[in-house]
């Protein structure tokens, strides 16, 4: 019955996942080319790309704007329906979300491939892309807003049918993720709609690059939590089931997500520590809040490990670390997520360095930064998504996963690769190696960057092989796998139920949003008012690539 009702929505979910996968496929190839460039092997030219920077634009946009947004929209739509046991509130919205995504990806993709928009995924003005590049990105964001609306309506409908009950955990978390994202994305939406599109169309001559940066980073930090939290949904509520354990506490999980809701947005200036147009006081306030946003991740670390340890011990693991070896490492979905967690732990530590604002002065915009985020988004998030796809694709297609062993190998290849890659990039960064730079053609290469560049190339190649093994498993599943299976979403049992906590943590979302808005007004309001009283609309557009 239910499966019947879900099917029309699931079709769009599956096709949206295909978009995400196509994007990351091309994105990862670009990454491989970038890595080889560090050893003077130029595949960009060979394959007809205009420049390293065209490739890097594709890499950034496809990997972290398209792949993530498309995956999350599909995954959380799927999760919401299963968690609430009802189809999405509106079939039209599910369809619209998909159509907007397709149109957005095609527009932005076209304008990147014709080299008219090689502005990197941050598209900082005064570099001026083709108007349709910006329009494409707007469509991608609109698609995510439609997903938000649909999830919110579905939860509301469920609440009407279940007065007084706490919303089921996974749907609640999905809603919090999108609530946070919707508020966060207003910054970049304002930047693109108000500043960049009219300017790129020639309707206004000059724009304010400093203001654009501030609006961009209003969204730009929170967006990493938008990527991360769907992985946390899996770590908290699905992975325990997959390893044969339980989730410790339902209300604590909700509280963790609510803390992310509060602290993800009012920290954006920590990306602008060395911007000239932001007074030091504001940088300090955001630096303080940046530490606050580490806190829920530390609780997550504890909760998830505790849950895994229970499973390992139940399976006969002994000693301080013996339980680790007893986990089901032969399950590609589990392995991917466990290795994602390991990568993420190291990423988090390098992130603390990044965020410490005086250390930031040493590493800002050096290759330290890509070294850091290939561990966080490039591994913690990316491998978790792959882990989810290892059960989600069979669940949606009814086809048994092809060559699961190769799936296990793919995650290990990635982890080994990214360890070498990031070690290289971080070491280079500490020696002043700039990021976003076509190294093979650089005129100022330092001797101390030679080994870091080699590690980048070698590690990047292993990462590439890991990703290609994943795609082999995926394509094998879609085209070679004959065996039919019924796979359903893993849902962990809970030790401490939601009823144990005050409704503040389970229900009163409106209150949390109000606090968030107040926090944003405090951390951005006075700065914005004083900045806007004397802005600097001084920059014409440049196309210099």
């Amino acid at each position: 019955m239910q499966a019947q009702q879900f099917r029309p929505h699931d079709r769009f979910v599956l096709w949206q996942l295909y978009i995400a996968l196509a994007a990351i496929f091309l994105g990862v190839i670009m990454g491989f080319f970038q890595a080889l460039e560090r050893m003077n092997i130029d595949l960009f030219k060979l394959f007809g790309f205009a420049s390293y920077y065209q490739g890097l634009t594709l890499h950034g946009v496809l990997n972290v704007l398209v792949f993530t947004t498309a995956f999350i929209g599909a995954f959380l739509t799927y999760v919401t329906m299963r968690s609430l046991g009802r189809p999405m509130a509106s079939y039209r919205l599910t369809a619209l979300q998909f159509v907007l995504m397709v149109v957005g990806v095609l527009l932005a993709g076209w304008k990147m491939l014709d080299n008219s928009s090689s502005v990197l995924f941050t598209f900082y003005p005064p570099l001026q892309a083709h108007p349709l590049f910006y329009v494409g990105l707007v469509f991608v964001v609109l698609s995510s807003w439609v997903t938000f609306l649909n999830i919110a309506l579905t939860v509301r409908a469920w609440q009407r049918d279940h007065p007084g009950e706490a919303v089921p955990l996974q749907a609640f978390l999905s809603l919090v993720v999108y609530l946070m994202w919707f508020i966060a994305s207003i910054g970049v939406a304002a930047e693109v709609l108000v500043l960049l599109i009219p300017w790129s169309l020639g309707l206004v001559e000059r724009t304010d690059p400093q203001l654009a940066r501030t609006l961009f980073w209003f969204t730009g930090h929170a967006i990493v939590y938008f990527w991360l939290l769907p992985a946390y949904i899996s770590w908290y509520t699905m992975l325990p089931k997959q390893v044969g354990s339980k989730l410790l506490s339902d209300p604590l999980t909700r509280l963790v997500f609510l803390m992310f809701l509060l602290f993800s947005v009012p920290v954006g200036f920590h990306h602008q520590f060395v911007d000239p147009g932001v007074p030091v006081m504001w940088k300090t306030i955001h630096a303080a809040l940046t530490y606050a946003v580490f806190f829920p991740s530390m609780i997550t670390f504890f909760s998830v490990i505790a849950s895994l340890e229970m499973a390992g011990r139940a399976r006969g693991g002994k000693g301080l670390f013996g339980w680790i070896t007893k986990l089901p490492w032969n399950d590609p979905s589990v392995t991917a997520q466990l290795l994602a967690g390991i990568g993420f732990m190291f990423g988090g530590i390098s992130g603390l360095i990044n965020a410490s604002y005086n250390l930031n002065q040493v590493v800002h915009n050096t290759s330290f930064v890509p070294g850091h985020f290939h561990l966080t988004v490039g591994t913690g998030v990316f491998l978790s998504y792959l882990g989810i796809l290892y059960w989600l694709i069979p669940a949606l297609t009814g086809r048994k996963l092809w060559q699961p062993r190769l799936g296990v190998v793919s995650s290990w290849l990635w982890l080994v690769g990214v360890s070498i890659f990031s070690r290289g990039q971080i070491a280079g960064g500490l020696e002043g190696m700039p990021r976003r730079t076509w190294m093979a053609a650089a005129t100022y290469v330092f001797e101390s960057w030679r080994i870091p560049n080699m590690m980048t190339a070698v590690g990047g190649t292993l990462m590439f092989l890991g990703a290609m093994s994943f795609f082999a498993v995926l394509l094998g599943t879609l085209f070679l796998s004959r065996e039919r299976v019924t796979v359903s979403m893993p849902v962990a049992d809970v030790i401490t139920p939601p009823e144990a906590a005050s409704p503040l943590f389970t229900r009163q979302l409106g209150l949390w949003v109000t606090v968030l808005i107040v926090l944003i007004m405090i951390t951005y309001g006075p700065y914005m008012i004083s900045y806007l009283s004397n802005p600097a609309f001084v920059a014409r557009g440049f196309r210099v690539w």
């Binding site: 420049s51 920077y53 005064p126 570099l127 304010d208 690059p209 400093q210 410790l248 506490s249 209300p251 604590l252 602008q272 520590f273 060395v274 911007d275 000239p276 147009g277 007074p279 030091v280 940088k283 300090t284 630096a287 303080a288 530490y291 580490f294 806190f295 530390m298 609780i299 504890f302 909760s303 505790a306 603390l352 410490s356 604002y357 005086n358 002065q361 040493v362 915009n365 050096t366 020696e431 002043g432 700039p434 990021r435 976003r436 730079t437 076509w438 053609a441 650089a442 005129t443 100022y444 401490t496 144990a500 906590a501 005050s502 600097a536 001084v538 920059a539 440049f542 210099v544 690539w545």
Partner: protein, 168 residues
């Protein structure tokens, strides 16, 4: 809300740790003299040729062992492209961009700042050791980004080199 005892301990340790980190950062900032770049004012990037001090980019001595460098960044060079200061001097850079975003990084120092058209960036650093340093543009600024750098020659602090710096 019922929370596992170990988890409670862990939560308190986490809070304490973050607190310590934060205080360490503040102490370094306010007592260790490590400071982030502060706003250096506004400027019209198209009028640099007749806006002091950017109408005369270059090195000026402003005190004993203290120098000011006025610099313009544009695709894909820094103006001036070479500067000389004696070892042991403290140098304040006043920099702005004529066109797109650029970056300003001197490896092995604390000099690291963004250059945003319309804004003046200020950064101060001390050159203790003689030798050749480089200013590298570390923000993507177009197809020639990887060629954008300048040289700083920090000369052994003889009276002669100081005199020459004064002349310039």
């Amino acid at each position: 809300m019922p929370i596992d005892r170990f988890e409670k301990v862990f939560i308190w340790i986490s809070l304490l740790l973050l607190e310590v980190f934060f205080i360490a950062v503040l102490v370094a900032a306010f007592f260790g003299g490590i400071q982030l770049p502060a706003p250096g004012g506004l400027v019209d990037p198209e009028q640099l040729a007749n806006t002091p001090p950017f109408d005369q980019p270059g090195v000026r001595q402003v005190g004993e062992k203290e120098y000011e460098v006025v610099m313009i960044a544009q695709t894909w060079q820094f103006i001036p492209g070479e500067i000389r200061v004696p070892a042991g001097s403290t140098v304040t850079f006043r920099i702005t961009s004529r066109d797109v975003l650029h970056g300003f990084l001197i490896p092995n120092t604390n000099a690291n700042v963004m250059l945003v058209p319309g804004q003046v960036s200020e950064v101060t650093t001390r050159f203790k050791e003689p030798g050749e340093y480089r200013i590298i543009c570390h923000e993507y600024c177009g197809i020639g980004h990887q060629t954008m750098f300048a040289r700083i020659f920090v000369e052994p602090a003889t009276s002669e080199s100081q005199a020459r710096a004064q002349e310039e």
